[in-house]
């Protein structure tokens, strides 16, 4: 129902919009007067040279003014936030169908990527990168999304996995398939080790301590030169083999055995399917775990820790298993990273990686497997798409994230799917689902 708009109300509406736009423009003027209006540079003898750029300033303020009018008009057209909009029933059901088909469609597409883009090495490499982050996101999702424990040091387990494989393979000559579970177990062990001291911490405190743990692992790697090679890293990490068959042009290589011509792309395709399989394993295990008592206990812990204790749930072991499970997947991903790169150094395991993976989990919707996969695709793949924008890439990226968080404050897929149901599985609105307090 729309109110009939009289000319008077339209005038007052226009005045309101102009007032709002003028305030925005004023804020922009104050904010940018020094940032854009005056340009300073160090002169040849060290003195400060400055000149004014008032025309640039004026255009920025004008853009803000115009933009704010457009935003306000859009908001009017869209109606107040939170009003239920009537979507035609047909569109609604087709949207629901599209949502249901999204996950299988993505999976089929992922399986076909090496076939479609066989000759485009760049896309295959990007696909491997995206899948690595999908896997890391799914791993961290167990800790942050399900158990509600904010972990800012996830990269530590990625590093433990990578170095476990690198060192075991270069020192003892163990194969990738032996090292992969070992890397996972070692990372899980470190996850438990981190878990013990932080069990009592909640929220911000937990985040800071896990952040510190991530840095400690990196600094130990940098400084323990005799074992890890320090800043020089570990090189000559063996490439993975297809159950003992190397993917090389040698006589016993896969190409020679199959009687086909050798191509370096074989290895890339193999790596692609390897990380896809690892990521799907992570996904499968997580989906299974959610339906088991341990997974329900994780989610219950996120909802209400005190109630969990009253129901006889051991908080200590429940938190530790969440840390260990998440860390184990991080370790697997790390081992894959090491075998793919052939060379690892502490530079690959900075806080930025933790932040990126956490951003993927938060953006995807905490706890949602599909959301995390979509977020990884957007964050890693989308970031590459904007490569042409050069120095504006970060700006576009930032704006996109801000818009997404306004549009979807609880992530791309914010609702929660129940783990068990009697009659009908109803998605639970994100308003009810807690984010956890650590």
């Amino acid at each position: 129902m729309t109110k009939p708009t009289t000319p008077a109300s339209r005038v007052s509406g226009a005045a309101f919009i102009f007032k709002k736009a003028a305030i925005s423009a004023l804020v922009a003027l104050v904010l940018f007067s020094l940032m854009i209006g005056i340009r300073t540079e160090a002169g040849p003898t060290g003195q400060l040279i400055y000149w004014t750029r008032f025309d640039d300033l004026a255009s920025v303020v004008a853009i803000v003014f115009g933009g704010s009018i457009v935003v306000e008009l859009l908001r009017r057209w869209w109606g107040p936030l939170g009003t239920p909009r009537l979507v035609p029933r047909q569109l609604q059901s087709s949207l629901a169908l599209a949502r249901k088909l999204l996950a299988p469609a993505l999976l089929i597409f992922a399986l076909l990527v090496p076939v479609i883009f066989y000759n485009q090495r760049y896309i295959l490499d990007l696909g491997i990168l995206v899948l690595t982050y999908v896997m890391l996101g799914w791993g961290l999702n167990v800790v942050v999304g399900l158990a509600g424990l904010l972990d800012l040091g996830y990269v530590a387990f990625y590093a433990v996995g990578a170095y476990s494989y690198a060192l075991l393979a270069t020192h003892f000559g163990l194969s990738f398939w032996v090292c992969l579970p070992l890397a996972g177990i070692l990372a899980a062990f470190w996850g438990m080790l981190l878990g013990f001291p932080v069990l009592r911490l909640r929220g911000d405190y937990l985040a800071i301590v896990t952040l510190a743990f991530g840095e400690i692992i990196r600094l130990v790697i940098v400084n323990w030169e005799s074992l890890t090679g320090g800043p020089n890293g570990v090189s000559g990490i063996p490439r993975p083999t297809l159950f003992g068959i190397p993917l090389t042009p040698a006589d016993d290589g896969l190409a020679a055995r199959l009687g086909i011509e050798f191509s370096p792309t074989h290895r890339i395709v193999f790596l692609f399917y390897l990380i896809l399989a690892l990521a799907l394993l992570t996904n499968w295990v997580t989906i299974r775990l959610r339906r088991l008592p341990i997974g329900r206990a994780w989610e219950a812990l996120r909802e209400d820790e005190v109630a969990c204790r009253a129901l006889g749930i051991n908080i200590t072991t429940t938190k530790l298993t969440a840390f260990a499970t998440g860390a184990m997947f991080g370790g697997f991903a790390g081992a894959f990273f090491a075998t793919r790169q052939g060379f690892i150094s502490p530079e690959s395991f900075t806080f930025q990686e933790s932040a990126l993976v956490l951003a993927i989990v938060v953006l995807g919707g905490m706890g949602s497997q599909l959301g995390v996969a979509l977020a990884a695709l957007i964050m890693i793949g989308g970031f590459e798409l904007f490569r042409d924008l050069e120095q504006y890439r970060m700006l576009v990226f930032g704006i996109a994230m801000v818009l997404l968080m306004i549009w979807r404050p609880r992530g791309l897929i914010g609702h929660r799917a129940p783990t068990v149901y009697l009659r009908q599985s109803q998605a639970i609105s994100s308003d009810l689902v807690k984010e956890g307090h650590g």
Partner: protein, 278 residues
């Protein structure tokens, strides 16, 4: 007092710094009976609950729980989750503490955590989908369905607990506590915020839990109509000490109890008693 008491609290004292919240309190809870713990606000009732259910460690005193098979458990020596897991004492909270983002059914499944953990072979059997695990899960869902039916929420099993009406949430919390299959159920103001019809339904539910499941119940309650209707025994507290104990009728007529509720000084007590014709 008959010999078959499930819980014997003896000399329970809880100090917070200089404040004595509970002072040398002794009382018993009879097996298969409903015992009410009443008293004015700030009398220390919830503190007693928190001591019994392991959320506080009492400064001194003993709490002996006797299982039907003769096993004696000293509650003050257990802590935290073990009270529910080993001693089989379940509780609800004054301000409802459900898992609001989980469905009613899921809430009841979480309550069966320890039994299901064993059945799932500490997750490993469950991960590979072993038949024994599937059977156990089916039984757990049946138990949850049984309790949902008992509290009249079977058709809302798949709704988020946070979306249920207040009275339904209260009953769901009791059902969740019962899903841990306790021998002693501690309810902290179960009738708070319920209307007359809802508290009547609650009384009925608690009486049937006592009779059908044979669970002993200890409850804190301010709603005297509920207390008088369902309690077998009443323990009255004020300022951290027990001031009366007995059947609901005895307690109702006890001048000390009346004085505590009306807020009369001890010296005025005789006058009040005379006025009331006691």
């Amino acid at each position: 007092m008959s010999g078959d008491s499930i819980l014997d609290v003896d000399g329970l004292t809880m100090r917070f710094g200089g404040i004595v919240a509970v002072n040398d309190l002794s009382f018993g809870v009879e097996r298969r009976q409903i015992t009410a713990l009443i008293g004015p606000n700030g009398a220390g009732k919830t503190t007693v609950f928190n001591c019994i259910t392991g959320f506080y460690k009492p400064t001194s005193g003993t709490m002996r729980l006797a299982h039907e098979n003769g096993a004696q458990i000293r509650l003050e020596r257990l802590n935290d989750f073990r009270i529910s897991k080993q001693a089989k004492v379940a509780r609800t909270f004054q301000n409802i503490r459900l898992f609001p983002g989980m469905t009613a059914l899921e809430n009841l499944m979480v309550a069966q955590h320890n039994a299901l953990m064993r059945a799932s072979g500490l997750t490993f059997l469950g991960l590979i989908g072993a038949p024994s695990w599937r059977a156990a899960e089916k039984r757990a869902i049946e138990l949850a369905k049984f309790w949902l039916d008992r509290i009249g929420l079977l058709d809302r099993a798949d709704d988020a607990a946070g979306n249920l009406a207040y009275g339904d949430q209260r009953r769901l919390e009791i059902a969740r506590a019962m899903c841990t299959e306790p021998v002693l159920l501690c309810l902290d103001e179960p009738a708070a915020g319920l209307n007359g019809r809802e508290s009547a339904a609650l009384s009925e539910l608690l009486l049937s839990i006592r009779t059908d499941q044979g669970t002993s119940i200890l409850l804190i309650e301010h709603d005297m109509s509920v207390v008088m209707e369902i309690s077998d025994r009443v323990v009255v507290m004020d300022y951290g000490v027990k001031i009366a104990e007995g059947s609901p009728r005895d307690v109702r007529d006890d001048p000390k109890v009346i004085a505590a509720y009306l807020g009369v000084e001890d010296q005025e007590l005789a006058g009040v008693e005379q006025e009331l014709g006691l």
